[in-house]
């Protein structure tokens, strides 16, 4: 009984924690609409495809959506009060067996300057006519930031990585601190690319690499069109030419924005329950991945001293598959979904297996897009361990929103990979895990109306159901081809957001949209 008192004593202080941040972005739940630092935008999990003899998995957690790269002077650091976690279920019960935890520490190194990053190539000193008391020649502006030790990096973040396995926590360390890449402020202030390149750390755990920082938002979508009650600029069916193109025919609404990304690459053997690289037909090969953000339940305000967090963690957000909470879960359920555990997802089964989204598309097209009848068992492979992702005979486990990855499926070389993943005949793509370049918007639309993971339902028309899409096929920025794979953040000085009205961005007419 004492435990209750402790728990609720801690809960009391939640109301003193109150970290409200207000910004417009594509947040999927009311609670993260007011706590965007804790808002998970995307989770990726895929077999690393940058070569090497050891089969590895890259796990990426992106948070804090739609960062405007020019939004100084403070920009968008990771929140030191948040516990960021990537969780892995490897025994089909939707409960985490391996967890990677990330905590950030923020250091302010230029307390007298009005912005957190400053620099010019060569630095700038006080000129001969500098009024006293500043003597001519006194350094005023530090040299351009090219490394994490440079003076101009006024706001510097380090982070710790902890692996929790079988209840045992193990620090994942490197030869020095892990620094997070800051926002790409602009070409005068910093050499962002140099910082990015320096921020991939090998660790003292063999074959484990880590990265954290502000990067290009790797997602792409006709976001404004999608939430104008599916008034996307191309709707609902792509032409074969549009479908096949590696370019965009509608504007990528998240172009020119950045997010904060945490990436870790680990050997497959660290993730499977057998500790081995299992073949794809093994029932032990498939793992379930999801990310979470949590805040401490107790915050003590001690002004003028800094606030102190303590107590247990309260989960703010979670994400496994893309777009589940965004376009499947009902508005009255989103917060509960965000804060609950995947093992309890049976309560949301109706949203998974009779998706309202499918019915909306069916209605908006006056039935031209036929949909299967519920229960939509064809969608079970997305929310349980089932073929074609998991090997036949794999225990299905409970219905749970996990990003399932068959670690036995070898990565597809980028040159032959399909943006349509499994539906495009590429066995290493979504919904078997998720790579950065998997077009999950088109995939989700086709999955939700298609029945395509099982035998297509009667009424399925491959020229319609199989060609749904928003006309945004690729990201606005190139992804890297090696870990951490995410692309450079747009320049704060020179960023641009591609608009629907731009030449070519006219719903497929004329030239493709600029990328």
């Amino acid at each position: 009984m004492q435990m209750w008192k402790n728990t609720l004593a801690v809960s009391l202080a939640i109301f003193m924690a109150a970290p409200p941040n207000f910004a417009a972005n594509h947040r999927e739940a009311p609670i993260t609409a007011i706590d965007h630092k804790a808002d998970i935008t995307d989770v990726f999990a895929f077999r690393s495809y940058d070569g090497g003899a050891t089969p590895r998995v890259t796990l990426i957690l992106c948070v804090d959506p739609l960062q405007e790269p020019g939004n100084g002077p403070n920009y968008f650091p990771f929140d030191s009060d948040i516990l960021y976690e990537i969780k892995i279920d490897n025994n089909n019960d939707a409960v985490e067996d391996v967890v990677f935890q990330f905590r950030f520490n923020t250091e302010q190194r230029l307390p007298n300057l009005f912005q957190v990053y400053a620099g010019v190539p060569g630095g700038a000193n006080a000129p001969p006519n500098s009024p006293p008391p500043v003597a001519p020649g006194t350094p005023i502006v530090p040299p351009q930031i090219t490394s994490f030790s440079d003076a101009g990096l006024g706001q510097r973040q380090t982070y710790s990585v902890t692996m929790v396995k079988a209840g045992v926590s193990t620090a994942v360390n490197g030869s020095g601190p892990f620094y997070a890449v800051p926002e790409n402020v602009g070409p005068r202030t910093m050499n962002y690319n140099a910082l990015f390149n320096a921020a991939t750390y090998t660790t003292n755990t063999p074959n484990v690499k880590v990265f954290a920082g502000t990067v290009d938002d790797p997602f792409w979508i006709d976001l404004g069109g999608a939430f104008d009650t599916f008034n996307t600029h191309i709707f609902p069916v792509l032409s074969p030419a549009h479908d096949a193109a590696s370019t965009n025919f509608a504007a990528d609404f998240v172009s020119g924005y950045s997010v904060n990304a945490i990436a870790i690459e680990v050997p497959v053997t660290m993730l499977t329950r057998t500790g081995a690289v299992e073949p794809a037909n093994s029932t032990a090969a498939t793992i379930g991945v999801w990310g979470t953000t949590s805040r401490a339940r107790l915050t003590t305000r001690r002004a003028p001293l800094p606030a102190v967090n303590s107590g247990s963690w309260s989960q703010i957000q979670r994400m496994g598959n893309p777009l589940i909470n965004e376009v499947l879960i009902g508005t009255g359920f989103k917060d509960r979904f965000s804060m609950d555990q995947p093992k309890n997802d049976i309560q949301f089964a109706n949203f998974f297996l009779d998706p309202t989204l499918a019915r909306v598309i069916n209605a908006l097209t006056a039935g031209a897009v036929a949909i299967p009848s519920p229960p939509r068992n064809d969608l079970l492979p997305v929310v349980t361990y089932a073929p074609p992702i998991a090997a036949a005979g794999t225990p299905a486990g409970p219905i749970a929103d996990l990003l399932r990855l068959n670690t036995g499926v070898a990565p597809t070389p980028p040159a032959t990979a399909s943006r349509l993943g499994l539906l495009g005949g590429d066995p290493a793509g979504f919904p078997n895990g998720r790579r950065l370049f998997d077009d999950v918007t088109d995939l989700a639309l086709r999955l939700v109306v298609g029945g395509v993971l099982a035998a297509p339902f009667p009424g399925y028309n491959p020229a319609i159901n199989g060609m749904l899409g928003d006309g945004v096929n690729v990201n606005d920025t190139a992804y890297r081809t090696t870990f951490p794979y995410v692309g450079n953040a747009p320049s704060g000085r020179d960023r641009r957001h591609i608009d629907p009205g731009e030449p070519g961005c006219t719903a497929g007419a004329g030239l493709p949209c600029p990328i």
Binding site: W4, S11, L12, T229, S314, G332, D335, T356, A363
Partner: protein, 304 residues
């Protein structure tokens, strides 16, 4: 709107009656029909799990029923889902939970937080809060602070006022004043309050009036069966009737007051081992209610 409409059709929620259903549950809670209230609140919660009012109703039902772990779960969800945004009712429920598990100081903290949520002109709820604060201060043995809170609450029809006044005057040894307070109002008192009055006054006539009134509502949910069992186990000297009533009531709910009455009735019937075991279970919840502790002390059961 289409999505909303489809969603509503899908899960069967009729938004227009959602508030009406909450009102109906509040009525059940006021009538102490906890089991029906819980069932309806669960349905409401399943249909709209982000609505914190359903968690509040669930918590109130579980508190009344004596399902403290379930109450805690509902309250924790209520708190987690609205970080930084608890409302008055949420704080009050948290306070009542803390009182139930013996955390009187934590309950007072929650009362303070609830007061922050109140608009200056919301005198009715402010009065209720002050009365509840007085009740908690009384539980903590701080009679002067209880008196101050009671005075600050002012004159109000809130039933908590008469109960707190009677208890406080009893604790202050001001029995005559307690009787003066209720003079002319006794006909309007609930049998539970009549029992309190009888206990404070130790007047046989008032016990008789209580017994008559309590027996008339025995079969309702908003009864005074706990008080009746305590009366028969003690002053009324009908131990077997006390046990019969206490067992029947404890089959319906198992909050600390009901189970304490059962323990007292068992003890009066010389079923000492079961009485002590029952009382130990009551104390294990954490309650520090003075009347419960007094009964426990009589049985030789000490709180841990």
């Amino acid at each position: 709107m289409l999505i909303l409409l489809a969603l509503l059709l899908q899960v069967g929620v009729d938004a227009s009656t959602f508030d009406a259903r909450k009102t109906a549950i509040r009525r059940l809670l006021a009538d102490r029909d906890f089991s029906a209230a819980i069932e309806r609140a669960k349905t409401l919660n399943r249909e709209w799990p982000d609505d914190i009012a359903a968690y509040q109703l669930l918590a109130e039902g579980h508190l009344g029923m004596g399902d403290y772990p379930d109450a805690e779960r509902a309250i924790q969800w209520m708190l987690d889902l609205r970080i930084g945004k608890a409302d008055f009712q949420g704080w009050l429920i948290l306070s009542r939970f803390r009182e139930a598990v013996g955390d009187t100081e934590g309950a007072l903290d929650a009362v303070n937080m609830a007061s922050v949520q109140l608009a200056a002109e919301d005198q009715s709820r402010r009065s209720h809060l002050l009365l509840y604060a007085a009740h908690l201060q009384l539980l903590a043995g701080r009679l002067e602070l209880a008196e101050r809170a009671l005075q600050a609450a002012g004159s109000t029809n809130d039933p908590l006022r008469i109960e707190t006044l009677l208890r406080l005057r009893g604790a202050q040894g001001k029995r005559a004043e307690a009787l003066r307070i209720v003079r002319g109002q006794e006909g309007a008192l609930h049998p539970r309050q009549l029992f309190l009055l009888a206990e404070v006054s130790r007047d046989p006539g008032r016990y008789t009036a209580f017994e008559k009134a309590a027996r008339e509502i025995m079969k309702t949910t908003d009864n005074a069966n706990v008080e009746l069992a305590l009366y028969y186990a003690g002053t009324g000297n009908r131990p077997s009737e006390a046990l019969r009533i206490a067992r029947a009531e404890s089959a319906r709910r198992h909050d600390v007051s009901t189970m304490c009455a059962l323990a007292v009735a068992l003890f009066a019937n010389r079923q000492t081992m079961e009485a002590k075991s029952t009382m130990r279970n009551v104390l294990a919840v954490g309650t520090r209610h003075p009347e419960i502790l007094r009964h426990a002390n009589r049985m030789g059961v000490k709180p841990r």
